[in-house]
C-alpha cells in the first residue's frame, strides 16, 4: 500500500451498514445517543463524567475481570471504562442500574469477603460474577430457543408509523428477561455488553486482539486456499 493511499485511508473516515440492510446482530447495546464525533481521542487522563472516582475504580476493575489482560491488553488499557462512562452519561436509562450494581459489588465484597472490591482475588471475583453470568447466558439461550418455537402465530397486523419503517416487525412473543431478571443480573449483562462492545471496537481489541486486517487496497480478491473440510 502506497503512502498516499495509506494517508487517504487514514484521513477519510465508514458507516457500517446503518442503512436498510438487515444485519442479524442487534444494534450496539445501549448506544441510543450520538456523541459529538471527534477524529482524535482526547489526550491526557480521562475524567469520568457520570461515575464518582470510587465507583469508577470499581468499574475499571470489573471490566478487567470481564476482559482480562492476556498476551494482549485487557479492557481498561483498551479504554473501555471511558467508553462505558460516555455511554452511561448519554443514556440516562442506564444510570440507576449502573450505580446500583457497582454499589452491590462493593457491599458483596465487604459482606462476603471483608475486602474492598478492587482487592478481591480471582476466585472471589468468580464467586461473585459466575452466578450472574450463568443466569444471563441461560436467559439468552432460552430466548433463542423460544424463537425457534414461536412461529409467528395468527395474522398480526402492525404499523410502521414514520418513514423510518425498518423497525417494523410482527410482534412475536419473546420473553422480556430484562424486566424479570434481578438487578445484579441485569447489571452484569449491561456491563458485559458494554465491555465487549467497547473492547472489540477499540484499537487494541480490533487490531491487536482480533487481528483485523481489512480496509486495504487489494489488487484482486484472493482465491480461497483453505483445504476442503
Amino acid at each position: 500500500m502506497s503512502g498516499t493511499r495509506r494517508h487517504a485511508l487514514k484521513i477519510l473516515g465508514t458507516v457500517t451498514a446503518t442503512c436498510a440492510f438487515p444485519f442479524a446482530s442487534e444494534e450496539l447495546y445501549g448506544q441510543h445517543v450520538m456523541f459529538v464525533p471527534a477524529q482524535a481521542p482526547a489526550a491526557g487522563p480521562y475524567t469520568p463524567s457520570f461515575f464518582a472516582p470510587d465507583e469508577y475504580a470499581v468499574l475499571v476493575r470489573l471490566t478487567d475481570v470481564i476482559i482480562p489482560e492476556t498476551d494482549t491488553p485487557g479492557a481498561s488499557r483498551a479504554g473501555v471504562p471511558e467508553y462505558i462512562d460516555r455511554v452511561v452519561t448519554a443514556n440516562k436509562e442506564h444510570q440507576p442500574l449502573a450505580r446500583a450494581g457497582l454499589a452491590w459489588l462493593v457491599a458483596e465484597a465487604r459482606g462476603r469477603f471483608s475486602r474492598d472490591y478492587v482487592s478481591l482475588d480471582e476466585s472471589q471475583h468468580a464467586a461473585l460474577l459466575q452466578p450472574l453470568s450463568d443466569a444471563v447466558d441461560r436467559a439468552a439461550r432460552e430466548q433463542q430457543q423460544a424463537r425457534y418455537r414461536s412461529a409467528p402465530g395468527g395474522r398480526i397486523y402492525y404499523v410502521a408509523v414514520t418513514d423510518a419503517a425498518q423497525p417494523a416487525r410482527p410482534a412475536v412473543a419473546v420473553r422480556k428477561d430484562s424486566s424479570e431478571a434481578v438487578m445484579p443480573e441485569r447489571f452484569f449483562r449491561l456491563i458485559k455488553n458494554l465491555t465487549a462492545d467497547g473492547y472489540y471496537t477499540s484499537r487494541v481489541g480490533l487490531l491487536e486482539e482480533l487481528g483485523y486486517s481489512g480496509n486495504k487496497y487489494l489488487p484482486g480478491f484472493p482465491q480461497c486456499s483453505v483445504p476442503e473440510h
Binding site: L12, C19, S25, V159, T201, L218, F221
Partner: protein, 520 residues
C-alpha cells in the same frame, strides 16, 4: 420560479431517476432532475474508510465533518439509495413476471421477461455487472463482467447447500471486477455500503447523472423537496412544486412530462399529497388503488459461527461484502404449501465491528479466547422472501408531519398466511444449510423484518385495479409516469434495483418516442 419548460421533469435521482435522465438525454430530451437532498460527492464526502475507534462512541457517522447531510431515513441526496446500496443486480425471470399464472396467487405483471431483457442487457453494458453465467432458469444470465472469487466460507456453504439440492452461485453485483469506462475495478476494502470512494460500485450520480449534466441536457435541482405534482384543468401534469430544503422557499419546475421516481413509499406519498378538485383522494388515484398492494420483501437474519473456520487465522476477507448468492430453489416443488419462494444473501458481515461478541457466554479469559476463535468464522445469513399482495398498504399519517410540514408516509404491513408459511420455511431451510455446513447458530430471527419496499402504484392493464399501465404511465393522467419499485405488481424474492433500472431505461425509450411523435 422557473420560466423554462423542460421536456421531462423527474422527481428523484436514484437508480430510477438517474437512469431515466441519462437515457432521455441521450435521445435529445431536456430533463429537470428534482432531488430533495444535497449534492454529495462519493469520492470525498462519506466516511468510507473510517474505523470505529476513531470515534469516542465507536459509531462512524455516515458523512465526514462539514459535509452536507445525507438523510438516512429517506436517502435524500443526489444518487439516492444507490450511494449506499450493496449493488446486488439480479434479473427477474419469466416466473417472477407471471407469478399468478405459475402458482395461482398474487398478480402477474402486464409485461414479460422478453420485454425487459434488452433493457437488462443495456444496463449491464453501461453500468457493469459482474457475475457468472450459471444457466439457471429462474435467474436469467446476462452480459456479465468476470465474477469475483468466492470466499472460503462461501465454498463451505456451497458444499452444504449442494448436499440438500440447492445451488450457491457467484453473486451478481453492479460493481466492477475489471476497469470500465474510466472507473477502476473494485479493490475489496469492504466499505461498499459506506459510500464507494472510487465508483467501482455503481451509483446513479457518478455513472448516469453527472455525465448527462455535462452533455447539457440534464439540469439538477438539488435540495428541492417536491411537495406536489401540478395538474392543469385539461388533466395534464404541468410540473412540480417544491420546498427548498435549506431556505424553505417554494419553487416550481415545469415540464411536458412528469415522472415520479422518488422510491416506493415516497412516490406514493407525493401522489397522495397532490390533491385537487379532480383528484380529491390523490393524483392518479381515481381507482382508489394508490398505496394499496404494498409488497416489501421480508427477511429473517441468522448469525452463526462456521465450524470449519473457527480458530483460524484472521483473514482480510471482507471483499465487496457478499461474494455468493443462494438463488430460489424451492419454486419447482409444488408440495411446499405456499406460493412464491425465497433466495438468500449471506456472508456480507464486515469484520470491523463485533457486536455478536457480547452474545457469547461467560467472562474472563475463556470468554476472550472464545471471541477470538469465533471472529474469523462469524457469518450472517439472510433469506429474502416474497410478500403477496395481502392487504398491506401505504397511506399518509393524518396527524404527523416531518420537519418540512409534509405528512409522513405510513406503512401498514399485514402478515398473511402465505407469508407465515414462507417465512418459517425459509428460516428452516437456512438453518438446515448452515447446520450442514457445521455452523453454530448464534442468533435466529425474532420475526420477519421488511426490506426493499415495493408496490403501492401497481402496474396493470385494468385501470380499476392498477395505477400505471405497462409503460409506467398513469391510467388517469396521460403525461404522468411513475418509475420505481412502487409499480411492481409482484415483488419476486430477488433484489429489485436491476429491474427498476431496466424499467427506467424502457420508460425512457417510450417517453422519448412519444415526445418525438408529439404525443406527450
Amino acid at each position: 420560479m422557473q420560466s423554462t419548460v423542460f421536456d421531462v421533469v423527474i422527481v428523484g435521482s436514484g437508480a430510477a431517476g438517474g437512469t431515466l435522465a441519462s437515457h432521455l438525454a441521450r435521445q435529445g430530451v431536456t430533463v429537470a432532475l428534482v432531488e430533495g437532498g444535497p449534492r454529495v460527492d462519493t469520492r470525498t464526502d462519506f466516511n468510507t474508510h473510517a474505523l470505529p475507534f476513531e470515534f469516542p462512541n465507536r459509531q462512524i457517522p455516515a458523512m465526514r465533518p462539514g459535509k452536507p447531510g445525507f438523510d438516512s431515513e429517506r436517502s435524500r441526496g443526489v444518487g439516492g439509495k444507490t450511494m449506499l446500496w450493496n449493488a446486488v443486480a439480479l434479473r427477474f425471470s419469466q416466473r417472477d413476471f407471471k407469478g399468478r399464472t405459475h402458482d395461482g396467487a398474487g398478480e402477474d405483471w402486464p409485461i414479460d421477461y422478453k420485454d425487459l431483457a434488452p433493457y437488462y442487457d443495456r444496463i449491464e453494458r453501461e453500468v457493469g455487472v459482474c457475475g457468472n453465467r450459471d444457466g439457471l432458469e429462474d435467474l436469467p444470465d446476462g452480459e456479465f463482467l468476470p465474477p469475483v472469487p468466492l470466499k472460503c466460507s462461501d465454498e463451505i456453504l456451497q458444499r452444504a447447500a449442494a448436499s440438500v439440492g440447492a445451488r450457491i452461485i457467484h453473486v451478481r453485483k453492479a460493481t466492477l471486477s475489471v476497469p470500465m469506462n474510466s472507473r477502476p475495478a473494485c479493490h475489496f476494502c469492504g466499505n461498499c455500503m459506506a459510500g464507494c470512494d472510487v465508483v467501482a460500485k455503481y451509483n446513479s450520480a457518478d455513472v448516469h447523472i453527472v455525465p448527462a449534466e455535462k452533455g447539457g441536457r440534464v439540469t439538477v435541482f438539488h435540495d428541492s423537496i417536491v411537495r406536489e405534482v401540478m395538474v392543469s384543468g385539461g388533466n395534464r401534469a404541468t410540473g412540480v412544486r417544491y420546498l427548498h430544503r435549506i431556505h424553505k422557499r417554494e419553487g416550481e419546475v415545469r415540464g411536458r412530462v412528469v415522472v415520479v421516481a422518488c422510491a416506493c413509499a415516497q412516490s406514493v406519498a407525493l401522489l397522495l399529497m397532490s390533491k385537487s378538485r379532480r383528484y380529491p383522494a390523490g393524483l392518479a388515484n381515481s381507482s382508489g388503488q394508490l398505496g394499496r398492494h404494498f409488497i416489501p420483501h421480508f427477511t429473517g437474519g441468522i448469525e452463526c459461527v462456521l465450524g470449519g473456520l473457527k480458530g483460524s487465522r484472521s483473514a482480510n476477507d471482507e471483499g465487496f461484502l457478499d461474494h455468493a448468492y443462494l438463488p430460489s430453489f424451492v419454486h419447482g416443488n409444488q408440495d411446499r404449501g405456499y406460493a412464491r419462494s425465497f433466495g438468500a444473501q449471506f456472508n456480507y458481515q464486515n469484520r470491523r465491528l463485533a457486536g455478536w461478541a457480547k452474545t457469547l457466554p461467560g467472562f474472563g479469559q475463556t470468554f476472550k479466547a472464545s471471541v477470538k476463535a469465533a471472529y474469523p468464522a462469524i457469518l450472517d445469513f439472510t433469506p429474502y422472501g416474497e410478500m403477496l399482495p395481502n392487504g398491506s398498504y401505504i397511506d399518509l399519517d393524518p396527524d404527523r408531519v416531518d420537519k418540512f410540514g409534509l405528512p409522513l408516509a405510513r406503512r401498514h404491513v399485514r402478515w398473511g398466511d402465505n407469508e407465515e408459511k414462507l417465512f418459517n420455511d425459509m428460516v428452516r431451510w437456512s438453518l438446515t444449510i448452515l447446520q450442514k455446513a457445521g455452523a453454530e447458530i448464534l442468533t435466529v430471527p425474532a420475526g420477519p423484518a421488511t426490506n426493499h419496499e415495493l408496490g403501492g402504484c401497481r402496474m396493470g392493464m385494468d385501470p380499476r385495479t392498477s395505477v400505471v399501465n405497462r409503460d409506467c404511465r398513469t391510467h388517469d393522467v396521460p403525461n404522468l409516469y411513475v418509475v420505481d419499485g412502487s409499480v411492481f405488481p409482484s415483488a419476486s424474492e430477488k433484489n429489485p434495483t436491476h429491474t427498476i433500472m431496466a424499467l427506467a431505461a424502457r420508460t425512457a425509450d417510450h417517453i422519448a418516442d412519444r415526445l418525438k411523435r408529439g404525443e406527450a
